[in-house]
């Protein structure tokens, strides 16, 4: 039969060339420096951008809706793919929100927390490195990109060693870290990385570089008030002089038990945001070292909570299964089965949990109807909020500033569109 023709809804950009004869330049969605498939419609007068408008949605995959069709443990695989530059940070946000929903926050063993923090801070470095690399590349300094990736590879290697995946980690499990307990030697390798990670290189190459400074200082200024009213979080907010860091101000895991500083710069320009991130690299490096020490002290303790209705049983107890002889544990088998096919069922209710991802406050909001599948999932993605400041940043600036500004707010389109 004839295919039903549904009326096509085309969203027209608000600005057009017809009005006053100014040229509209389509920057993106396929453009080298839009960090994905962002499309910026810029009304330009010569090189000056008079008006800019973002058009997003080119990478929309309906992650929230997908999560709403999957059991809780499956949903996490999609969070790897929102902010793919720092997947473990998303994993952690997801896991913590689900744990809050289940009401088991206090059951998580210390060691799991420290392992999570190690991975989280590695992810922060991971995310900031790709930011520094691409931002510098946008500015034309191409070597930075490769140096950043060189360091990033090492972290990829650490992720791979820890959980098996380099990019889309799916690292943690509700109740702990699942099977991804630290393998032998991993903590030592992390320690080694923390000792050899050379932030100073980036410092030398960009911080003092006159050309870089001239490109970034005084460009894309966003005032403290504007930053707060837009809802900026993370380094973008701290670059505008607000000391706000969820790790400190709404502590989770064991962040209140280690020492670190929160870098804050007041200028609110691209350079200040760069300096915040650069300093966070130093901070994360020292945090990793501290966490590794704690995790080592806790060796031998469990890394998963002892909750039969949430944590998957050890596979050895299940897979002792043989068709003829009975060596597995029936109870473990049944728990395993129920956990796989139905998943844990949080009580009806809702929970929000925000973590400090490399890009800002990454929050997961769940509504549970008591079944094994979330009734509603919402992701408060920092990139999306940060992107909404772009208009303010670039209007009145030059084309080249646009590139610097897009870079400076650190967006990942996977997270913006979700």
């Amino acid at each position: 039969m004839a295919a039903e023709t549904s009326p096509k809804r085309v969203v027209q950009p608000e600005i057009s060339e017809a009005e006053d004869g100014r040229m509209i330049l389509n920057i993106g969605p396929q453009h080298p420096s839009t960090h994905g498939v962002l499309r910026v419609l810029a009304k330009v007068a010569g090189e000056t951008i008079e008006e800019a408008e973002c058009d997003i949605g080119y990478l929309h995959r309906g992650v929230e809706k997908l999560i709403e069709t999957k059991r809780y443990y499956q949903g996490m695989t999609y969070t790897d793919r929102t902010d793919y530059t720092a997947a473990p940070a998303n994993n952690l946000g997801y896991i913590l929100a689900v744990e809050k929903l289940l009401g088991i926050e206090n059951e998580i063993p210390d060691r799991a927390h420290y392992l999570r923090m190690i991975v989280m801070e590695l992810a922060r470095i991971y995310g900031h490195l790709i930011w520094i690399g691409t931002h510098a590349l946008d500015m034309g300094a191409m070597s930075m990109f490769l140096y950043a990736f060189r360091e990033r590879e090492k972290i990829s290697g650490l992720f791979e060693e820890g959980c098996g995946a380099r990019l889309t980690t799916n690292f943690f499990r509700v109740g702990g870290v699942g099977r991804h307990d630290d393998p032998p030697g991993w903590l030592e390798h992390v320690q080694e990385f923390a000792e050899t990670f050379t932030v100073e290189e980036f410092d030398t190459l960009l911080t003092d570089n006159e050309l870089y400074k001239s490109r970034t200082k005084g460009v894309g200024i966003i005032s403290t008030e504007d930053a707060i009213s837009i809802g900026l979080t993370g380094p973008s907010l701290r670059g505008s002089g607000v000391e706000w860091d969820l790790r400190r101000h709404r502590p989770y895991a064991r962040y209140n038990e280690i020492d670190y500083k929160i870098p804050v710069f007041t200028e609110g320009d691209v350079y200040a945001r760069y300096m915040v991130r650069l300093n966070e690299l130093y901070q994360s490096r020292s945090m990793i070292a501290q966490c590794v020490e704690r995790a080592r002290d806790l060796r031998g303790e469990p890394a998963n909570a002892n909750l039969a209705d949430v944590v998957w049983p050890e596979i050895e107890r299940v897979s002792g299964w043989q068709p003829d002889k009975r060596s597995g544990d029936m109870e473990a088998m049944i728990n395993h089965f129920k956990l796989v096919i139905e998943g844990y069922k949080p009580p009806a209710g809702d929970a929000y949990f925000g973590v400090e991802s490399p890009k800002g406050e990454l929050g997961f909001y769940f509504v549970s109807d008591g079944s094994g599948i979330p009734y509603r999932c919402h992701i408060r993605s920092p990139s999306f909020v940060n992107l909404s400041s772009l208009k303010q940043l670039v209007e009145g600036g030059l084309m080249a500033d646009l590139v610097a500004c897009i870079g400076s707010i650190d967006i990942v389109l996977g997270e913006v569109d979700r």
């Binding site: 034309g140 191409m142 060189r150 570089n209 050309l211 001239s214 490109r215 030059l398 084309m399 080249a400």
Partner: protein, 334 residues
């Protein structure tokens, strides 16, 4: 008078220039990729041929085999002509560059195709013609990015032409001739860089800008306007832009060598002046080309207004100042 040998020698020289035009970019591209790779903690091309040395040949073949796209809505004739306007001036410039002293092989042969008495001017003229390629290609592509690139490029070329000219003028004052051979010969005692260090930097900066190379690569700034004026080109036509860029780089490097670094003047083994001269010239030129790569590896790009400001507010006054100083020096010393 002109005899048969002269024609043969001229033909050989012409062939050498043609070969240079074709080969130098290939070598430079490979060198650039290798050097950049090494600087960036990687190895660069390493697949085609031994250690990747034939990579550019493979690329050239690939480009030759690619489809030649002509964007709709553009001016086909001009789109077709634009790459020629890029490549021909570059090739012409090559023909007046002397790469070594006169040598005696049965007869006296200058290691240059032709020694024009207005050689410097010819190169400047060709350099100013380089504005046509971007303008024509950018306009005929019917693309906004290409248009941006074209405007940026021609503005940049015209502007930096002036500071370049001012710097060259100072050298000409010293050398007292437009002929490149004469200029080199005038540096037997002292390279021009010594009295004209300011002029050298002005010339070097302007040369980088003239060739649209980082950190002055605004016309083709990849992260801003994608590829600038040649964004719509493909295949061999694009290769001609590419070729012209590297040929221009070579010309600029040679020019720096000839104007400031004494050309083939340098320590030489008696009897081998010719070879040593060529070696010195190329060595100096290659060093300058290496500096090109080096800059590309490290520096962020300038912003457009900063670029123009740099030219008009710093280089131009400095050029005038340099001219003034050189004039005084010249007057005093002579």
């Amino acid at each position: 008078m002109v005899d048969g040998w002269d024609i043969v020698i001229l033909a050989i020289k012409g062939l050498v220039v043609l070969a240079l035009l074709a080969l130098a970019p290939m070598i430079f591209v490979l060198a650039e990729r290798k050097i950049l790779g090494r600087i960036q903690a990687r190895v660069g091309p390493n697949r085609v041929g031994p250690r990747g040395y034939l990579q550019t040949f493979a690329d050239a073949m690939k480009l030759g085999a690619k489809e030649d796209l002509i964007p709709p809505g553009g001016d086909k004739l001009i789109f077709w002509l634009a790459p020629l306007f890029m490549a021909v001036p570059a090739a012409t410039s090559l023909s007046v560059l002397p790469i070594g002293p006169e040598v005696e092989i049965g007869r006296t042969i200058g290691l240059w195709v032709t020694d024009l008495n207005v050689g410097v001017l010819l190169i400047l003229a060709m350099g100013s013609l380089a504005a046509y390629g971007p303008v024509m290609s950018g306009w005929s592509s019917n693309s906004k990015y290409a248009h941006f690139g074209a405007l940026r490029s021609s503005a940049q070329v015209i502007s930096y032409e002036i500071s370049l000219g001012l710097a060259v003028l100072a050298v000409l004052m010293y050398a007292g001739s437009f002929s490149l051979v004469d200029i080199v010969n005038s540096q037997k005692q002292m390279w021009h860089i010594v009295p004209q260090i300011l002029g050298f930097f002005i010339f070097a900066a302007s040369a980088v800008a003239e060739t649209n190379r980082p950190p002055f690569d605004l016309p083709e700034a990849e992260t801003e306007i994608v590829a600038g004026y040649h964004v719509e080109y493909s295949g061999m036509r694009w290769a001609m832009f590419f070729l012209a860029e590297y040929a221009n780089m070579f010309v600029a490097s040679m020019l720096v060598t000839i104007l400031y670094l004494g050309g083939w003047n340098g320590w030489t083994i008696p009897g081998l002046e010719g070879i040593m001269g060529v070696m010195w010239t190329l060595l100096k030129a290659f060093f300058f080309i290496f500096v090109y790569f080096w800059l590309r590896a490290v520096l962020p790009r300038l912003r457009y207004d900063q670029l123009m400001g740099f030219c008009w507010k710093i280089l131009l006054p400095a050029g005038v100042l340099n001219l003034f100083l050189v004039a005084i020096l010249r007057t005093i010393w002579s």
